[in-house]
């Protein structure tokens, strides 16, 4: 069976505030989908309804075709999840916490033992396996939580900002773990507001804001959609630069599809001609001695589309 999650008309209201507004989203197949949106967009609310932590006012959430609201036990059986930063009973050790999690899932004791070893090694917590969780730092607890969500080798993995609370090294390790999780017959649905993280590990991306889905597409389509295969480069100068100069020195270079001003000293250049055009533009500007202080590819296509879509709603 192909792993899938589906939101059908999912709506959540907190008093007069609508956190999620008739969300329809179907994700299926073995892939990693990034669920993006600014703070308060409705990401965590959606994931909490997928794990039955909160209840929708309207609509339903399905995991592998089973309604979470109607049969949470069956729906969550093939699912490993990490929502917010859960706490584990402080007197338990990671081994005991995972043993409890596995036993409640119906895993055999030998399965629990072998998987506990694997997943705790994955999150670099093997040395702490018999220490009480209550003494752990936030980052260490989050590693154990990640391990618990992977214990049953689930078909569907739902992660809510999994690198929250981790230091840069820990964040890199979690990204690496998520990348390693991508395998045949596993769907990973991961919320994040770290765009580089999503670009790094995800195949597809869904953007949500004000409780509404703005788009859901593959990362490669996102890039095509925004730039039509163009590269965006941002230029910064020591002093103000005139439109005429920009037009003469930059826009006239073959392979430059457009120049737009960011402010008096900065401009953005859309380049369709590849690296050769970039080199030509840079050489011209250097030769013209215009006081160029930086020449750098601007934000990623995803970031541009993200900002573009989010700003529409503001």
């Amino acid at each position: 069976m192909t792993p899938s999650i589906e939101a059908v008309g999912l709506t959540k209201r907190f008093g007069s505030f609508t956190a999620l507004d008739r969300l329809n989203l179907k994700v299926d197949g073995a892939k990693c989908v990034g669920f993006l949106g600014p703070n308060g967009a409705g990401k965590t609310t959606t994931l909490k309804m997928f794990t039955d932590l909160i209840f929708p006012n309207e609509g339903e959430a399905f995991i592998n075709g089973v309604s979470v609201q109607k049969d949470r036990k069956r729906a969550l059986a093939p699912c490993g999840d990490l929502i917010e930063s859960p706490e584990i009973y402080p007197s338990l050790t990671p081994r005991e916490a995972l043993e409890m999690s596995g036993a409640l899932r119906g895993m055999r004791p030998d399965e629990i033992r072998s998987r506990t070893k694997v997943v705790l090694e994955e999150v670099k917590m093997s040395d702490w396996v018999d220490q009480k969780v209550g003494r752990f730092s936030k980052g260490m607890k989050q590693r154990v939580n990640v391990a618990a969500s992977l214990l049953s080798d689930p078909e569907v993995v739902i992660l809510d900002e999994p690198s929250t609370g981790l230091d840069p090294r820990g964040m890199a390790e979690v990204r690496n773990i998520v990348r390693g999780l991508k395998k045949e017959n596993r769907l990973i649905f991961m919320s994040s507001h770290i765009l580089s993280e999503v670009v790094d590990v995800c195949d597809e991306v869904a953007l949500i804001d004000h409780g509404k889905l703005l788009f859901y597409d593959t990362l490669s389509n996102v890039a095509k959609r925004l730039t039509r295969n163009a590269t965006s480069v941002e230029l910064a100068f020591l002093g103000p630069i005139s439109d005429e100069t920009l037009s003469a020195q930059v826009a006239s270079v073959p392979g430059v599809s457009g120049v737009s001003r960011v402010d008096a000293q900065r401009a953005r250049v859309m380049i369709t001609g590849g690296a050769e055009t970039q080199a030509q533009v840079l050489e011209r500007l250097a030769a013209a001695r215009l006081g160029l202080v930086s020449f750098e590819p601007s934000q990623s296509a995803l970031e541009e589309l993200y900002l573009q879509e989010i700003s529409k709603g503001d």
């Binding site: 794990t51 069956r74 917010e84 859960p86 706490e87 338990l92 409640l104 998987r115 939580n145 390693g180």
Partner: protein, 297 residues
């Protein structure tokens, strides 16, 4: 910048999805780990210290005033001894253990975020509720048994061998367990109604240590109706197995000149047991109802 090679899970040892246990099986499984958490926590040490302190005070009084007529009267028979010290003390132990082990049992799942770990698993909320209830009951039972052990040690010392372990104590112990169930039911109800552990513990402590007794007194003295709907009213029956004659259900005494009539109510045996059983069932169901509807926002 260092790059880390992607880690691939070993699919050969990765298990297939097991059969998820039934609701009750999951409740028992959860209760084992919850009890382990209780027994290792400071709250358990605190509870044992409270029982030890009660036992120490009791043992000291028995020893120090052993020559006095009052204490000699209490140690003259097992019924007098256990009727006073067991029936009087165990309700305090039960109330304290209910507060300590049950007060934040459900509220803590929300406030401490432990619920996020549990509720992401394929488990019904009923399993979590029942599992935590069983664990709180078991932890409280350890405290009650500790208190009983202190009393039995004193009983073995002060009473004759034939009187040290009376059958009435067994009956009273069973009634005390029913009272513990009823009290935990009520405590879990309040715990389910709050998402804040402190509020839950405070409400439970105030109600069971002072509130219910105060309301009970006001109702019987001023309104002059039987307070059959108050759980603490039923606790009197814990002492009944030690009594040769049960107290009158209703006693009215009048002051000088026929003024100031005072009415005292005592629950009958069946009434006391029914109040406890009713409290347990109703509050446990109501508590589960609230927990099923509470959101992890």
């Amino acid at each position: 910048m260092t790059t880390v090679a992607p880690v691939v899970l070993d699919s050969e040892i990765a298990p297939t999805l097991g059969h998820v246990p039934g609701t009750l099986d999951q409740a028992f499984l959860l209760s084992r780990y919850q009890l382990r958490d209780y027994l290792r926590a400071r709250r358990f040490v605190l509870m044992m210290a409270i029982v030890a302190a009660i036992g120490a005070i009791l043992s000291f009084i028995l020893s120090y005033y052993h020559g006095s007529a009052t204490v000699q009267g209490l140690t003259s028979s097992s019924n007098a001894f256990y009727g006073s010290f067991w029936a009087g003390g165990v309700t305090v132990v039960i109330i304290f253990s209910g507060i300590i082990f049950g007060g934040d049992a459900i509220a803590g799942e929300f406030q401490n975020k432990t619920g996020y770990f549990l509720m992401g698993l394929p488990i019904r909320r009923a399993s979590v509720y029942v599992g935590k209830f069983l664990a709180a009951f078991a932890a409280s039972l350890v405290a009650v048994l500790f208190y009983l052990a202190i009393l039995l040690a004193n009983g073995a010392y002060y009473l004759s061998a034939s009187q040290a372990f009376p059958a009435a104590l067994g009956a009273s112990f069973l009634i005390a367990l029913l009272y513990l169930l009823a009290l935990l039911g009520a405590v879990f109800l309040f715990s389910s109604m709050f998402k804040n552990s402190l509020y839950a513990v405070l409400v439970v402590a105030v109600l069971f240590l002072f509130g219910f007794s105060l309301i009970q007194g006001l109702i019987s003295d001023l309104v002059k109706i039987e307070p059959w709907f108050i759980i603490t009213y039923a606790e009197n029956v814990i002492s009944y197995p030690f009594l040769s004659t049960l107290p009158a259900h209703v006693t009215t005494t009048t002051g000088p000149g026929g003024r100031f009539a005072t009415t005292t109510y005592n629950p009958t045996y069946p009434e006391g047991l029914a109040i406890m059983a009713g409290y347990f069932l109703l509050t446990a169901i109501a508590g589960l109802y609230f927990f099923e509807r509470e959101e992890f926002t």
